[in-house]
Symmetry: C2
Subunit: 301 residues, 2 copies
Amino acid sequence: MEVVIVGTVAFDDLKTPFGEREKALGGSATFASLACSLFSKASIVSIVGEDFPKQHLDFLESKGVDTKGIVVKKGSKTFHWKGEYGSDLNSAKTLQTDLNVLLEFKPVLSEKQRESDFLFLGNIDPDLQLDVLSQMKKRPGLVVADTMNLWIGIKRDKVLEVIKKVDVVLMNDAEARQLFGTKSLVESMKKIIELDSKIAIIKQGEYGSVLFMDGKYFSCPGYPLEDIQDPTGAGDSFGGTLIGYLAKTKDFSEANIRKAIVYASAVASFNVEGFSVERLKEISLADVEARFNEFRDFVKF
Amino acid sequence: MEVVIVGTVAFDDLKTPFGEREKALGGSATFASLACSLFSKASIVSIVGEDFPKQHLDFLESKGVDTKGIVVKKGSKTFHWKGEYGSDLNSAKTLQTDLNVLLEFKPVLSEKQRESDFLFLGNIDPDLQLDVLSQMKKRPGLVVADTMNLWIGIKRDKVLEVIKKVDVVLMNDAEARQLFGTKSLVESMKKIIELDSKIAIIKQGEYGSVLFMDGKYFSCPGYPLEDIQDPTGAGDSFGGTLIGYLAKTKDFSEANIRKAIVYASAVASFNVEGFSVERLKEISLADVEARFNEFRDFVKF
């Protein structure tokens, strides 16, 4: 089943304790669609400038990603983000953001995309996320959205509306506390459930992620990595895998969502082993399956 | 099998977002011995002042803790700690420390204690920890030690010596990074193993704890608590349970140490549900078993 992925396609300038890259392929839709395509066909809705190399589009297509929905805007430049990670790799310091073509981003879904049963709303303005949702001919079977501290800070009400309307909003621990003013993880998850959301998933960076659903709690550990080269895109590849796996299996039971989270953690852990999409470029489903099985051993007692 | 527990017995003045207590029973040996006694007989080596109420000793004895090794020092006052936790309950702010009788603490083990097969060295000066170890007639079957950032800062070499000489040194994530200058959890665990230690356990507060042993990695989640009343003693009750369970089962295999860690996490999670020893006072082994089984459900996929 095809998954529609709305988000950014970007150039990233990255600096981490392990090295640096300039104008590397990035953006939430890029990471999410590559991760998704390990399990299900992904179809991107995004925008780039005319400086965006055709080779990147060809690369995405070679991975089975449908890029027809990426508008190439004449006379504009691609969204450009420059960030640096210190020895604490959990949070990036943004050095420069050139929104460029993103200022004109008004996602318009194709007829076919409006009929999709699986929709991933990458980390963009919640107003745009709601607009995309309103374009769907019917409510998709599963909608997963991502968000971030920026939107929680300036558009809190809209973020809450997104949580109400979609099935899963991905947040990390700190974002959930910021959004709800809660003190504990459990309190945050209860707030999400109260908002008419059946599924609460909270990401905890290197510590893993947790799920609260149907009155049950699930904890997935972080994959024990010695070197994290570049955390950029980890959240996007987590989200892309989650929806990709669920679109493939079409089973939204709590038990299967646990599996989806473990797959998502596995792919995200590969993502951070290299800069940009370097690792996502290389890995196969067999690699992901192997890591999935490692997670089983990590938690056995 | 009896476990010898060397550490502090203290008065704590506590303030958390959930309330406050004055002159509450505290100290590393107190928490560790109460936790241990859920599984194995504990025998404390510690010191208090003449202001220490007999009712506290009676309480410990009623829980099966041998308090004969707690020296009551005439003319001296009990060690007194005053601390406050903010909304981030992970770290305490020390407001006042009156070492009092602790300045004279030179632990001397009884003949019987020197023959024990299980020794827990609470979070005290690493020089004292090494001195206690040298008093043992033979190397105990299992020695677990606790430490903290203070000792890593001022007596780093001694802490490293303790790690070399004992079986398990309990540290949290930040302490391990401080001790070894490492960037990642995996790197820290490798450093511990390199120091001729077979077992590396790192505590991660609310996120749980991890084990690296025999080339295998184990991750135990944190118990999902909505309200943490008072985190004081969580690390001590974790350590006390760990050694208490291993003394009872006498099985130091990697598989059994995983179980010990889950029991330790369960007891520590009860500990923080109340102030001081309020919850440890109430719980039974059946309560702990029930929570142990909950952990199985938390990680199943």
